[in-house]
């Protein structure tokens, strides 16, 4: 599995080139990659349906318990099939939707990257890998939402989605660490068996809050729901893929995955139920207030996610069963409806549904696709949406009637929205059909059509296709094996009558909505001051605060930067020394002075005139040259004490500093003192303080020899394990290579930073 995932990851970066090279036929490759993954994951179906779990483990950082752990059970497989199957359709759809877009190659790259991250997320069996993939999906989502980066709204929405989900990701990381401590493991399969240990831990509550924050921000739960409708600035293929079928379900996936480990305490069930139901109601309500098709769909998605969360919160067998069925049904119809909305937008140039009428003549196939998806959404008989709704009602009825009533209201709203999407736009001939910019393209109608047919087929024959895998997914969520059977017809039960009532009420609501279209004034005011406003207030406040802080601390005088850095360090050191109050035995040290050899004295004596010169000179060049004398002396000392590598590095760095300084020397203003001598005293005080503290600390360090066998270990093993005689080098590039890699990254970032800073300066000068 590692090879498949890695190959697709590498492919993602080649995708733009493939797109450029292959041109029209490139889509075969672009959609082929998800298709191959889909087929590959489908080969696991027979085994997983029997209840087996496929695992693949690679050690990554064994000392920290980090593994590249692939864990494929029913739940993970359901998601991988959804992700890769949807990926195939979306790639094809994107190729049609953005046919003439210059950024199509880039979009392919991001989509493939996103798909890989998402696949990694759902197959990960280690919390650390889950987190990495989680963040990757946030980042790729940012890039995808901002695809049309010329528009300010797109950029802003992308940043908003990144900040909200990114902050959630931070909380999630902290939650994972707590979970790892409480459960004494970072591997998910182990954690799933330690429910008692985790729920009785004192860390349970903070852990739960943090993890839920992560999941709720990702899955757009109230009060973080606002980013999802804004994310509709993305091109429609992206909305269909990320914001209906896959990424927003990552939070649901996480909750379902960790449910066996975390569920039990009332706070888990209660929070999920309350937040989920609130979100479901709010989303449904807001969906009816909008007239933009994509906004309507986005709000119903928010609402559906809320329902899923509330079902996980209920946590009964029936609730989890209906959760997995609804998850699949929702992905199928919502993805299809998004593509339908995209087709309409593409052809008509608008997404405001009051302006759209009688499109069925011009866009017949899209119309059929819309109808299929809408029927599934409304929960009409032979579709999988019907089964989902039946199960939903059964599960909710078993818990309490209030919850059932709330779910009923949400479902009524769905029916109304489905009527708008599937009937109102296409088949309702009230006035002249809307004029289109161009005829509907048949090719663009294929993907939603396929999804609609899937919804129909799965609904007609639930036992054949979907029941086994959904059963395994439900078992994985519950943590125990359950009997799972799906059938279309349940008989004339009360739930069936409730379904019929839902549809009737929904159609009634639709007809009411058609008559009354004025927005309600009080509600508009409320929306304007919702969480979205709060987000912008916070963001602006942060920027202004950062500006003030920077203006105070970094005021442009380099000497003050250095002084503040040094003073902070000195303060910390002095505090530690005062706190531990070790005694320094000077007598012993003075005796050591007799061992200093003549040439060593000579080197030290060389430094003194250099320092004197440095303080007296008024030329920058002299100052830098004399400063390098000190550096060279230090490097000679290193050499004398047996560290040729460090000596060489020091020597080269000194030389480079002088040379680079000479390059910029002529650009600097003349060197002169502008302050009075007594004002400069304070810098002398700081320098002396720093020097004295460091000397004191060094003397102390020598007094308490570090007890460690590191030295022996490296000495013995450098040649045996590292196959090198130069211990320093072997440590750098082999034993501690990971540290070096980190430092390299820092260096690279610093180089880019230097470049950016100097460029900024140059641009300013050019303008001035």
């Amino acid at each position: 599995m590692l090879y498949f995932i890695l190959a697709s990851l590498i492919y993602a970066f080649i995708a733009p080139f493939v797109h450029r090279a292959a041109g029209k036929y490139g889509i075969a490759v672009q959609a082929g990659v998800p298709l191959v993954l889909f087929v590959y994951f489908a080969t696991f179906l027979p085994d997983v349906q029997k209840g087996e779990v496929y695992t693949e483990i690679y050690n990554w950082v064994p000392s920290l318990g980090v593994q590249l752990y692939f864990y494929l059970d029913g739940l993970a497989l359901l998601f991988t099939l959804l992700i890769s199957g949807f990926g195939t359709l979306v790639m094809y759809y994107a190729s049609q939707y953005l046919k003439d877009d210059a950024g199509l190659g880039r979009l392919y790259m991001y989509l493939t990257l996103f798909m890989v991250a998402m696949l990694g997320l759902v197959t990960a069996g280690n919390l650390v890998t889950v987190f990495i993939c989680w963040e990757l999906t946030s980042i790729t989502s940012y890039l995808l939402i901002g695809h049309t980066h010329e528009k300010e709204t797109a950029r802003q929405s992308a940043l908003q989605a990144l900040l909200v989900t990114g902050l959630g990701g931070m909380a999630l990381m902290a939650g994972f660490v707590l979970l790892g401590i409480a459960g004494d493991s970072y591997t998910i399969p182990e954690l799933l068996t330690r429910n008692d240990l985790i729920t009785h831990s004192s860390l349970y509550l903070p852990m739960l809050i943090l993890i839920l924050l992560g999941a709720f921000t990702k899955s757009a739960q109230f009060p973080f729901h606002f980013w999802l409708p804004n994310a509709m600035a993305a091109p429609t293929p992206v909305s269909a893929y990320l914001h209906s079928a896959t990424m927003v379900k990552a939070g649901i996936y996480l909750l379902a995955r960790l449910s066996p480990a975390l569920s039990g305490p009332d706070v888990w069930h209660f929070t999920l139920l309350v937040i989920g139901t609130t979100t479901a109601l709010l989303g449904a309500f807001l969906a009816l207030q909008n007239s933009d098709l994509k906004a309507i769909l986005a709000y119903t998605t928010v609402s559906a996610l809320g329902l899923l969360v509330s079902l996980i919160g209920l946590g009964t067998d029936a609730a989890i069963q209906s959760m997995v069925v609804f998850l699949l049904a929702h992905a199928l119809y919502k993805g299809g409806l998004f593509m339908v909305a995209g087709n309409i937008d593409h052809a008509a140039g608008t997404r405001e549904y009051p302006l759209l009428n009688g499109l069925h003549k011009q866009m017949r196939f899209t119309g059929i696709a819309a109808m299929l998806a809408a029927l599934s959404m409304a929960g009409v008989l032979p579709f999988i949406g019907f089964i989902a709704k039946e199960l939903l009602y059964e599960a909710k009825a078993a818990s309490s009637y209030i919850i059932l009533a709330l779910s009923f209201m949400v479902s009524v709203a769905y029916v109304a929205v489905a009527t708008i999407m599937g009937y109102r736009i296409f088949w309702h001939n009230r006035s002249e059909p809307t004029k289109l910019k161009h005829q509907g393209q048949v090719t663009m109608a294929y993907p939603p059509l396929i999804l609609g047919i899937c919804a129909l087929v799965f609904g007609l024959m639930p036992g054949h296709f979907v029941a086994p895998i959904l059963g395994q997914a439900a078992s994985a969520t519950l943590g125990e094996t359950i009997d799972f059977e799906l059938s279309l017809w349940h008989g004339f039960t009360p739930v069936l009558w409730l379904s019929v009532l839902t549809i009737l009420a929904g159609i009634f609501l639709y007809s009411v909505l058609q008559k009354k279209r004025e927005p309600i004034a009080i509600l508009q005011k409320l929306y304007a001051n919702g969480p979205n406003k709060l987000y912008f207030v916070l963001l602006n406040g942060l920027q202004r605060g950062a500006l003030h802080l920077t203006a105070t601390i970094q005021n442009g005088y380099l000497r003050l930067y250095i002084a503040s850095i040094i003073l902070t360090q000195v303060a910390l050191l002095l505090y530690t020394i005062w706190y531990n109050s070790p005694t320094l035995q000077l007598q012993q040290k003075i005796n050591l002075l007799q061992d200093v050899l003549f040439h060593e004295w000579l080197l030290i004596l060389l430094v003194l005139p250099a320092i004197y010169m440095l303080l007296k000179t008024t030329s920058r060049l002299t100052a830098i040259a004399t400063l390098s004398i000190i550096g060279y002396t230090a490097s000679l000392l290193y050499y004398l004490f047996g560290a040729p590598d460090i000596a060489a590095t020091q020597l080269l760095i000194e030389t480079l500093t002088v040379v680079i300084f000479v390059l910029v020397l002529h650009k600097l203003p003349r060197f002169q003192y502008l302050t009075h001598a007594h004002r400069r005293i304070k810098f002398v005080v700081i320098s002396v303080l720093f020097g004295a503290t460091m000397t004191y600390v060094l003397l102390l360090v020598k007094q308490f020899p570090l007890i460690s066998n590191l030295k022996e270990y490296y000495g013995q093993n450098a040649y045996l394990l590292g196959k090198g005689k130069n211990i320093v080098n072997v440590i750098l590039i082999d034993f501690r290579a990971f540290d070096t890699l980190g430092e390299m990254t820092v260096l690279a970032v610093a180089a880019i930073g230097i470049f950016a800073l100097l460029r900024l300066r140059m641009d300013k000068e050019e303008k001035a």
């Binding site: 590598d645 030389t655 680079i660 390059l663 130069n726 750098l732 390299m744 260096l747 180089a751």
Partner: protein
């Protein structure tokens, strides 16, 4: 800062700096040296070149690959055409007849590319260990013993990454600083 001695010497010295820096890189495993020092030495040559000739000249001479291309002539096979193009391109700075008929392509090697390559090389060198079933960054050696280079292994790749990164960063800083 242009003196004739330095200007003449540095042109001869640049290859020496390069060869020596690579030697230092290889030598690092058993003797003092390594990627960091090697990268610094390698870049010093170019810094002096920048000091004498300026950024533009340096970029033009060393960080730009000038390729000449032509359409496939009639009656020529593709292989023969490639060979022809390769021969024309390998004649460094030599005048080619019919200068105008060649299609010129200029590839610029920016220091950022070198930095990125270095980082990429270092990060991916650890993957080889991962693929052989060990933790990421486990060193793998070949059995060969090459003079000067020593035993090539993934650590050498890593060190080469350090070399390129340091080389690229110093160049980048120099170019930015020296730009007028």
């Amino acid at each position: 800062m242009r003196t004739i001695i330095l200007a003449t010497a540095i042109r001869l010295l640049i290859p020496v700096f390069q060869i020596f820096s690579v030697y230092i890189l290889f030598r690092g495993h058993n003797h003092p040296g390594g990627g960091f020092i090697g990268g610094l030495i390698g870049s010093i040559g170019f810094i002096f070149y920048v000091m004498t000739y300026g950024t533009k000249h340096t970029l033009k001479n060393y960080f730009r690959v000038h390729l000449k291309n032509d359409k496939v002539a009639d009656l020529h096979s593709r292989a023969r055409h490639r060979f022809h193009i390769a021969r024309v391109n390998s004649r460094y700075r030599q005048r080619v007849e019919d200068e105008w008929k060649w299609e010129h392509r200029i590839m610029r090697i920016r220091p950022v590319y070198i930095i990125a390559t270095g980082l990429f090389l270092a990060a991916t060198s650890g993957l080889i260990g991962l693929f052989s079933g060990n933790p990421y960054m486990t060193a793998i050696w070949t059995g060969l013993e090459i003079p000067i280079v020593g035993k090539p292994g993934t650590t050498l790749l890593f060190d080469a990454g350090v070399y390129l990164l340091v080389f690229g960063i110093v160049l980048k800083i120099t170019f930015v600083m020296a730009e007028e």
